[in-house]
């Protein structure tokens, strides 16, 4: 446990920038929108900025990335194939707790199954994570319902909590501890720890009503989804409202579906691209030749919520797939962000 003065907190990021490419929250001026961005000028970081519009998952799992390139001139000529990914040390500075949980889900999914995803592993390998406790929740947040905030409790190297004039700094790893030592941070006392706990407790009381209301319901709805007790008509109501835009998957910190396409660059050269995909798209499960085992849109919606809210899927992540960030609610052209679907399932809503 350490302390760092508020005015000095970016020194941590500066120190990291010596060995890592630093990413952090930056506010775009005209729109006021927060992005979790590659930062070259550390002073651009606004630690207190609202939760970033897009989750930092794109750092470890980009929207579009080349994973391989090849060249083949046809016929009996040789094929040159080269993998196209590299380890770059990255530091995520000022990550919110929900987004850390998202990365933990991705870790368990990409690295913890039968096959290890090599591309993901390269992104993830050399990484330093500094989380930032949400001392004030944001409008759509409901991490208190999904056990993923407002304060991270594991998986970080350093965790920062704004306790007034200072940030309370917790080291969660040896490399976190080492950095605190290197920066000669002042030791914190038990008094400071209780101040931090008080800040977290206060934050929890500040969540919007919808999220505290959902708290008990998330686990009950998980039960209904897992056992198939969510009504057909409710799924149909949800499906009718799906605009098939893919946004919910793209902004979800734990969604990991991807598409693979070979993009021709002319002259026999080709890039194999891996891009985000969404189970809400009709073409997602359509096979060549047109047969689609998952045709009606409600089937596809159902699939997404099964993925987020069922026990069998939770086994993959060792927790629910939803991390309570609320972003799917911001971006949905229908009215079927996850908290709303929970509401529809519990109220058995089938029409307006």
């Amino acid at each position: 446990m350490y302390l760092i003065k508020k005015s000095d907190v970016l020194n941590i990021a500066k120190a990291l920038s010596a060995a890592y490419q630093v990413y952090g929250p930056v506010v775009e001026k005209v729109s006021g929108q927060t992005f979790f961005e590659k930062v070259d000028d550390i002073s651009e970081i606004t630690l207190a900025a609202p939760i970033p519009a897009a989750p930092p998952k794109s750092v470890v799992f980009p929207q579009a990335e080349r994973i391989m390139s090849y060249r083949y001139a046809g016929g009996n000529t040789p094929v040159e194939i080269k993998p196209d990914y590299a380890e770059t040390p990255k530091a995520l500075f000022g990550l919110r707790s929900c987004d850390l949980t998202g990365i933990q889900c991705l870790d368990r999914f990409f690295l913890g199954q039968e096959f290890v995803d090599d591309v993901y592993r390269h992104h993830r390998k050399k990484m330093f994570i500094v989380t930032n406790t949400c001392v004030v929740p944001f409008k759509y947040c409901f991490c208190v319902c999904t056990d993923s905030g407002p304060c991270a409790d594991e998986g970080y190297d350093l965790n920062l909590t704004d306790i007034g004039d200072n940030f309370f700094v917790e080291a969660g790893s040896a490399q976190g501890e080492a950095l605190c030592k290197k920066l000669n941070l002042e030791n914190a006392s038990e008094q400071h720890r209780s101040e931090k706990n008080a800040c977290v407790d206060k934050s929890i009381t500040l969540f919007e009503e919808f999220s505290t209301e959902s708290k008990a319901w998330i686990s009950r709805v998980m039960n209904r989804v897992t056992t198939g007790f969510a009504k057909e008509d409710v799924w149909e109501y949800v499906g009718d409202q799906c605009f098939e835009c893919g946004a919910c998957s793209f902004v979800c910190p734990s969604c990991s579906c991807f598409n693979i396409a070979d993009a021709s660059g002319g002259n026999g050269s080709c890039n194999r691209l891996r891009t985000w995909d969404s189970c809400s798209y009709e073409g997602y499960s359509r096979m060549a030749g047109g047969h689609n085992p998952r045709k009606p849109v409600e089937d596809r919606r159902n699939k997404r919520f099964f993925c987020k809210l069922s026990y069998s899927q939770s086994k993959k992540y060792l927790r629910p797939g939803c991390v309570g960030c609320g972003r799917c609610n911001w971006v949905c052209p229908g009215d079927i962000g996850l908290p709303n679907v929970v509401k529809y399932i519990r109220r058995e809503t089938t029409s307006r």
Binding site: I67, F109, D118, D262, C270, Y284, A288, P293
Partner: protein, 277 residues
């Protein structure tokens, strides 16, 4: 027994020979360019690979060769842009291979049982591997039957194999077409209409069923009516796949992934998946 598995970056293979099977379906005989890997590339029957057609993309395809003493090959129908590009290739052309992936057909577990293969059209492709393998070990099984139906005589798959199998001692083969053509002297009718004639065994029996959804559902219904239990009916599912290793999620059905948990399932399992075949 476990050989090499090519997971992320494809290995280059050369097309040695191409045979026309039926309309829009060709068989490609391949060898991996890296001889060391070629030697250690072992498959199980019922598995699949991811095949890259350079410049066009990658697709999942089931493996028809037997794991033992069979030339490595793929049989592919042209249905989309990638398989269309594949059909344009000539011998000497190059492909990329990843795999083999998937669980494969049970082999040890079914020893001593009667085996029924029911294949509709190109549904024979994924079953070929198992058929050849079981025939190589025919003595270890009870009755072995195959019923193959196709739309017309021209649509019958693997005609050379069929001829061979028809004269294979103790292999009971039945072949039928939906629509006869001039010169056709064999059976006419859907494949399940041959069940009585074949005097299907039911006790201590396993059925492998593969074919288009309509045929599949009818055949399953007929088999179960005769008393075959749903866990003795085995099929292999096809899904849209991008990675083959459980990551892209395109092939997810309910709680299972066809690429890593499948593609071989018993009908009992398929019934609980909650999706169309």
């Amino acid at each position: 027994m476990n050989g090499i598995k090519i997971v992320t970056i494809p290995e280059v293979a050369t097309i040695e020979e191409i045979r026309d099977e039926i309309r829009d379906v060709k068989t490609f005989y391949l060898s991996l360019d890296n001889k060391e890997i070629d030697k250690n590339f072992k498959i199980k029957s019922g598995q699949f690979i991811m095949c890259t057609v350079f410049g066009a993309g990658e697709f999942a395809v089931s493996l028809p060769p037997s794991p033992e003493n069979d030339r490595f090959h793929l049989t592919v129908r042209k249905v989309g842009s990638v398989t269309n590009a594949l059909h344009e290739l000539k011998p000497g052309g190059k492909l990329g291979i990843r795999g083999p992936f998937g669980n494969g057909f049970p082999f040890e577990e079914i020893k001593g049982k009667n085996i029924i293969y029911v294949a509709g059209g190109i549904g024979l492709i994924p079953l070929r591997s198992s058929i050849v393998h079981v025939l190589q070990h025919k003595k270890e099984f009870g009755r072995v039957l195959m019923l193959h139906g196709a739309r017309t005589p021209d649509d019958l798959m693997y005609k050379d194999n069929l001829k061979e199998w028809q004269s294979f001692d103790g292999f009971e083969t039945y072949i039928t077409v939906d629509v006869a053509a001039p010169g056709w002297t064999g059976e006419v009718g859907f494949v399940h209409t041959l069940f009585d004639k074949a005097n299907l065994p039911i006790e201590n029996t396993v059925a492998f069923v593969c074919g288009p959804p309509v045929m599949f559902n009818t055949v399953i219904g007929e088999l179960m009516k005769r008393g075959l239990s749903d866990d003795c009916i085995i099929s292999t599912l096809e899904r849209h796949m991008k990675c083959g290793v459980g990551k892209c999620q395109h092939c997810a059905i309910g709680r299972t992934l066809v690429c890593t948990d499948g593609p071989v399932y018993t009908y009992r399992q398929i019934k609980t998946l909650g999706e169309q075949i």
